[in-house]
């Protein structure tokens, strides 16, 4: 089943390019560490989901590019076409001359209705090219004007027009000390609208990604392109094909559906986060070896301590955190118990033998009281390695990790509003 990606705004388009590039390089990576037949099945599955075929053999990404100014979209289109390996469709781009000026209301109430027909037509054409549609993946940022305002509008329209298809919004949480003054307003408005019309919100925080680039990848001058590449790597490790049932050798057909069914069935808890391990620059990859026990221990540690990267700390002391219940508060309809999880899916790539290593994830203390680990915890595996990482694992979790950042944003927005 195919996924149609909608890239909105400057952020969305840049990230979208990196994501497709990561998916393509992975599926054509020569070091798959599995049999040829397996590799071909993997490639075919990845291609069916994200690319469509043209006569001369160059795969075309199933994506729409939308932006209110032409600079970024034209850059993205040309970068993809230049690589020669894959490209965007010729008529999949919609852009205007004038931007949204970081104004959410402008994006939502003015640009949205004005360009509704053209954008939905583009989406319709892309949907018709799919044999079967799994859902939409909408990439946007919360701080800007186009991504946030227009993104909220487009998601709402998709809800109306394709009510049976799934929608996952990928949101970029802005830097705490971000440049856009009204980013807090934009974020709150976006989130509240998306909560109603989207099925799942996959959140990536700029601060966390920046830290990963600085500490784990040892990049000195961190540009957005580096951050986007880390992000794309994480998304790729979640969306690439995995086996469908325990022990079977067929790949899952409906990645979005399965992910959502396991993680966001409850209508009030829709925010998801991703953690990925190992994360390092490709240069140091050649000199590192991993064991599953070690990797999964770090992953669990990252989960418990609510961090997005392996910090190399002694993980014993943090294990006690989850046992301290704090006072209950109600914020945005979430129940509070510190770092409690609702559900998670672990996706493991390559040659996993011992299920004992996963025992740490099945601890009831990690989860809320009304959900048992057997329902809340799922493992997806595949034999094929992801992008030269002989072993890698990703963790998608529905938890309270965004509670604090959300409180901060709400607080700042109120302060700004009250000070008028």
């Amino acid at each position: 089943m195919s996924v149609v990606t909608v890239q909105l705004g400057q952020c969305g388009n840049q990230i979208g390019f990196e994501v497709f590039d990561a998916l393509y390089t992975d599926s054509h990576c020569p070091q798959g560490l599995c049999s040829k037949r397996e590799n071909e099945a993997y490639q075919a599955s990845c291609k069916e989901r994200f690319f469509s075929e043209e006569e001369n053999g160059v795969p075309i990404a199933r994506a729409i590019l939308v932006d209110m100014e032409p600079k970024v979209t034209s850059q993205t289109l040309s970068k993809a076409a230049q690589s020669g390996r894959w490209k965007y469709g010729q008529h999949s781009c919609f852009c205007q001359k004038q931007g949204s000026g970081n104004n959410w209301a402008y994006g939502y109430s003015v640009d949205g209705p004005r360009h509704e027909e053209s954008i939905m037509n583009l989406i319709q054409k892309e949907v018709e090219k799919c044999d079967s549609l799994s859902g939409f993946f909408i990439i946007m940022s919360m701080a800007g004007g186009t991504g946030s305002g227009l993104g909220a509008f487009v998601t709402q329209n998709l809800q109306d027009q394709y009510s049976n298809s799934l929608k996952m919004n990928h949101i970029i949480w802005p830097y705490r000390t971000g440049e856009v003054i009204v980013q807090n307003y934009n974020s709150i408005l976006t989130l509240s609208h998306l909560y109603r019309s989207s099925d799942a919100l996959l959140v990536h925080e700029n601060d966390a990604l920046h830290k990963i680039c600085a500490k784990l990848m040892n990049i000195k001058q961190i540009s957005f392109s580096d951050i986007n590449q880390v992000l794309a790597h994480q998304l790729g490790s979640v969306f690439q094909p995995t086996y469908s049932v325990e022990g079977s050798c067929h790949y899952r057909r409906n990645p979005l559906g399965d992910l959502m069914e396991n993680l966001v069935p409850h209508p009030e808890f829709k925010m998801l986060g991703i953690r990925n391990i190992p994360q390092m620059s490709e240069n140091s990859l050649a000199y590192s070896t991993f064991t599953w026990a070690g990797l999964l221990k770090y992953l669990r540690q990252m989960l418990i301590s609510n961090s997005k990267m392996e910090e190399g700390k002694d993980w014993h002391c943090s294990a006690t955190l989850s046992l301290f219940p704090t006072a209950t508060r109600a914020t945005m309809n979430t129940e509070v118990q510190r770092s409690t999880l609702l559900a998670k899916v672990v996706i493991r790539r390559n040659r996993f033998n011992h299920s004992d290593c996963l025992g740490g994830f099945k601890d009831q203390a990690l989860y809320t009281s009304w959900l048992k680990p057997i329902n809340a915890f799922n493992v997806w595996k595949t034999q094929r390695a992801f992008r030269k990482y002989e072993k890698s694992a990703a963790l998608v979790s529905n938890s309270q990790f965004l509670l604090k950042p959300l409180d901060t944003i709400v607080g700042k927005a109120w302060n700004m509003f009250a000070s008028k």
Partner: protein, 385 residues
């Protein structure tokens, strides 16, 4: 030019010939138009490439002809020539045709007729390109039938049920519902595609039937084509070499082979004797051990065979069978019933599992004994699955 046909006496047959050729070309994959056939009779050069392509498509293996882009005309020509030669095509003129595929349409027409006359070519081609409906399964793939789905998470309703849990379950249900709808839509789209392919296959099959009815006219016409060819000098069977010089060379080759055989024998014998001397140093114990293991293996195999046969498996040919839904009360026709088969297979599965368990324990015991016997030995286990 060819002889003029007498049109007077065969008025009705004249109209039948174009229809017969049209039916033939519709049945053949990549069939050229009847006009090409007519031109080929008069050996017109413009008809040649189309006939080369047709023969290539007919003679090449189905996988090569279907998926990849077709090779250049020169390569097609070479392949057609070698395929016809290997099938024993008698006319040597065809092998001498130029490789750019520009001449020899009459020869190609004769070759096509030869292939048609030899065997069930059309049926073979139709079977190659038939539409697979997906209602067949091989008999030995019983995993899909016998294995239950993933276990449903069961919750005992002890105490008050948390409403959040209910909301969670409702949400899961809703997602599955939407998944079902999407699958239904996909099913409809695929059924549409399948119907289109079935329609085109139907037209081809109807054309094949038409051809069968009007074949005779075609063969009468082919006689005239053959007649219009210039006479060949020696219509001998097609051999790559002049048979007159054959016997001498063959004798040479045979002698060389015999000499080689003798040399090998001479080299092998001393080596075998040396090996046996080394191995035979263990003497009578070795042969006794060998015999004992052979007997043990024989017993195990016999036991396995008995267990297999006791499963009462019906004689199953290992080929794909069609799944047919039948009324439960219907009279038993030919073929197996799914319920019986699953029952039999489950019994067999359980027997095999017990046998496997027994064998594994025996292996483990043996390994433990061997490991205990030699203290200095290190066992390196292969990486488990």
């Amino acid at each position: 030019m060819g002889r003029r046909r007498r049109r007077g006496g065969r008025g009705h047959a004249v109209g039948a010939l174009p229809e017969a050729i049209a039916a033939l070309s519709q049945t053949l994959p990549a069939g050229p138009s009847p006009e090409i056939f007519r031109r080929a009779k008069f050996d017109r050069p413009e008809a040649a490439p189309a006939l080369w392509r047709l023969l290539f498509r007919v003679l090449s293996p189905p996988a090569a002809a279907g998926t990849r882009a077709s090779p250049a005309l020169g390569a097609q020509v070479r392949l057609v020539k070698s395929a016809l030669c290997s099938q024993g095509y008698p006319r040597r003129v065809l092998a001498r045709l130029p490789e750019d595929g520009s001449q020899g349409s009459r020869e190609l027409l004769l070759a096509l007729a030869w292939l048609l006359a030899r065997g069930p070519l059309l049926e073979h081609l139709l079977a190659q390109t038939r539409v697979w409906l997906g209602d067949e399964i091989p008999l030995w793939q019983y995993e899909a039938l016998a294995s239950p789905g993933p276990p449903a998470p069961c919750q005992e309703a002890d105490g008050p049920v948390d409403i959040r849990h209910l909301q969670w379950l409702m949400g899961t249900l809703r997602f599955r519902w939407r998944d079902l709808i999407t699958s239904q839509q996909e099913l409809c789209a695929l059924l549409g595609k399948l119907l289109q392919r079935l329609e085109s296959e139907n037209t081809r099959l109807e054309a094949a039937l038409q051809w069968r009815r009007r074949e005779l006219v075609f063969w009468q016409w082919m006689d005239t084509v053959l007649g219009s060819c210039p006479l060949q000098t020696s219509p001998a069977t097609f051999l790559p070499r002049d048979p007159a010089s054959g016997p001498g060379e063959l004798e040479l080759v045979a002698r060389e082979l015999r000499g080689l055989h003798g040399e090998l024998q001479g080299a092998v014998e001393p080596r075998r004797a040396a090996w046996e001397a080394k191995a035979g140093g263990w003497g009578p114990e070795w042969s006794a051990a060998q015999q004992a293991t052979q007997e043990a293996v024989g017993r195990d195999l016999a036991a396995l065979q008995r267990a297999w046969e006791q499963g009462g498996a019906p004689a199953q040919p290992h080929r794909p069978c069609r799944l047919v839904k039948r009324d439960a009360r219907a009279v038993e026709g030919p073929g197996l019933r799914a319920a019986e088969l699953t029952g039999a297979l489950r019994i067999r599965e359980s027997r095999l599992e017990t046998a496997l368990g027994q064998l594994q324990t025996r292996c483990r015991q043996e390994l433990a004994r061997l490991a205990g016997a030699e203290p200095g030995l290190i066992w390196i286990l292969p990486p488990g699955r």
